[in-house]
């Protein structure tokens, strides 16, 4: 891979990392999904930066799958799409979670009778 290619790859990795971290901080990407993306991106960046690793991965991938170098472009797009999809799943999941917590507090009961400070709040 050319120097320009490595620089571009690392830049894309940094952008992806920053986006994932931003989403996790805002509670818009579940940290369990986030860890996978962070580790995957860091691994990919390490492969790009360390020449012997890059050579080994290139040799292995060419031997296993005869794919053109350009196939990395849809792979990058797919990764970004995956982060977006998982962020949407997390947002939906958070809404369900808040609803579940709110229902639990409003229906909190003592010996079968409704007794809920949550329900008294506006």
């Amino acid at each position: 891979m050319t120097i320009a290619g490595v620089v571009l790859g690392v830049a894309i990795g940094v952008v992806l990392l920053l986006w994932v971290v931003h989403l996790i901080r805002g509670d818009r990407l579940y940290v369990g999904y986030g860890v996978i993306f962070v580790l995957g991106t860091l691994a990919a960046m390490t492969v790009l930066i360390v020449p012997p690793l890059l050579d080994a991965v290139t040799r292995t991938s060419v031997a296993l799958l005869s794919v053109p170098a350009l196939s990395i472009v849809p792979l990058v797009i797919f990764t970004f799409l995956m982060v977006y999809v998982f962020a949407q799943i997390t947002i939906l999941s958070n809404r369900v979670m808040r609803l579940t917590q709110e229902l639990a507090m409003r229906s909190a009961r003592r010996d079968g009778e409704l007794e809920s400070p949550a329900a008294e709040q506006p």
């Binding site: 971290v21 996790i24 901080r25 509670d27 940290v31 369990g32 986030g34 860890v35 962070v38 580790l39 369900v96 979670m97 579940t100 917590q101 229902l103 639990a104 507090m105 229906s107 909190a108 009961r109 003592r110 010996d111 079968g112 007794e115 400070p117 949550a118 008294e120 709040q121």
Partner: protein, 234 residues
């Protein structure tokens, strides 16, 4: 208020609630039934505890968050959390409360390890994890916490807002670092813990890999978040 998160703890939860009510008759007891499939809710009938039922399992961290939200809305000054598996002896809460009431701490953790300062009675994998998180807390927050995963804690009202304004996994190392960096005082008080006699740990084999990774990431983000919050408020 005493909050007890429970997931499939029908075998032990009633005894735990009865012991808490006997030891701490002046405290309200809240059980967060976290989507249990067994009779956890049914066995609490007539126990005198308030039961908040999660319609589905949200996990330990979210169950604690429900308790904190409930305590906030109910105007409680202190929230005591303990495990539903009977490992914590409610008789140990009194001395913990006495220490907390001296006003030196915002959160006081009932700690299995602070007295002897070593993890000699836990399996090797868990021992490495506890050592790692204890060290990470010391490096990032400047004070060592020996038992970052203890379920027995007392939290003061002043910590309720930060605990519900940001997300945590299990209210363990990541929450402790976040709060300590915000300036809250967190201490440990020695307790003893019984061996679990029923049910199983909330940590599966796979979660022994996932949990440290998630916690480490959240710990770093918590550090960043706490620094940003401090800058914003100062």
């Amino acid at each position: 208020m005493v909050a007890i998160p429970a997931y499939n703890e029908a075998a032990t939860i009633r005894a735990v609630v009865d012991r808490v009510r006997a030891e701490l008759p002046d405290c309200d007891v809240l059980v967060i039934n976290d989507g249990s499939d067994d009779d956890t809710a049914a066995v609490l009938a007539g126990s005198g505890a308030v039961v908040a039922d999660h319609l589905c399992n949200l996990g330990y961290g979210r169950a604690i968050q429900t308790a904190v939200l409930y305590a906030t809305r109910g105007g409680y000054d202190r929230l005591i959390t303990l495990d539903a598996d009977g490992q914590h002896d409610p008789a140990q809460v009194r001395p913990l409360l006495a220490e907390f009431d001296q006003g030196r701490w915002d959160i006081l953790i009932g700690s299995r390890y602070v007295a002897r300062q070593k993890y000699d009675d836990v399996p090797i994998g868990r021992r490495v994890g506890m050592q790692l998180f204890s060290t990470l807390v010391r490096l990032t927050a400047g004070r060592r916490i020996y038992d970052t995963t203890s379920g027995l804690k007392i939290m003061g009202r002043q910590t309720f807002a930060p605990l519900t304004n940001w997300q945590f996994i299990d209210f363990h190392a990541e929450a402790l670092v976040y709060l300590m960096r915000l300036g809250f005082r967190i201490g440990e008080f020695p307790i003893t813990v019984a061996t679990r006699s029923h049910g199983q740990s909330m940590y599966s084999t796979l979660s022994h890999v996932k949990y440290p990774l998630k916690t480490m990431l959240m710990l770093v983000l918590g550090l960043v978040q706490a620094n940003l919050t401090r800058k914003r408020t100062s």
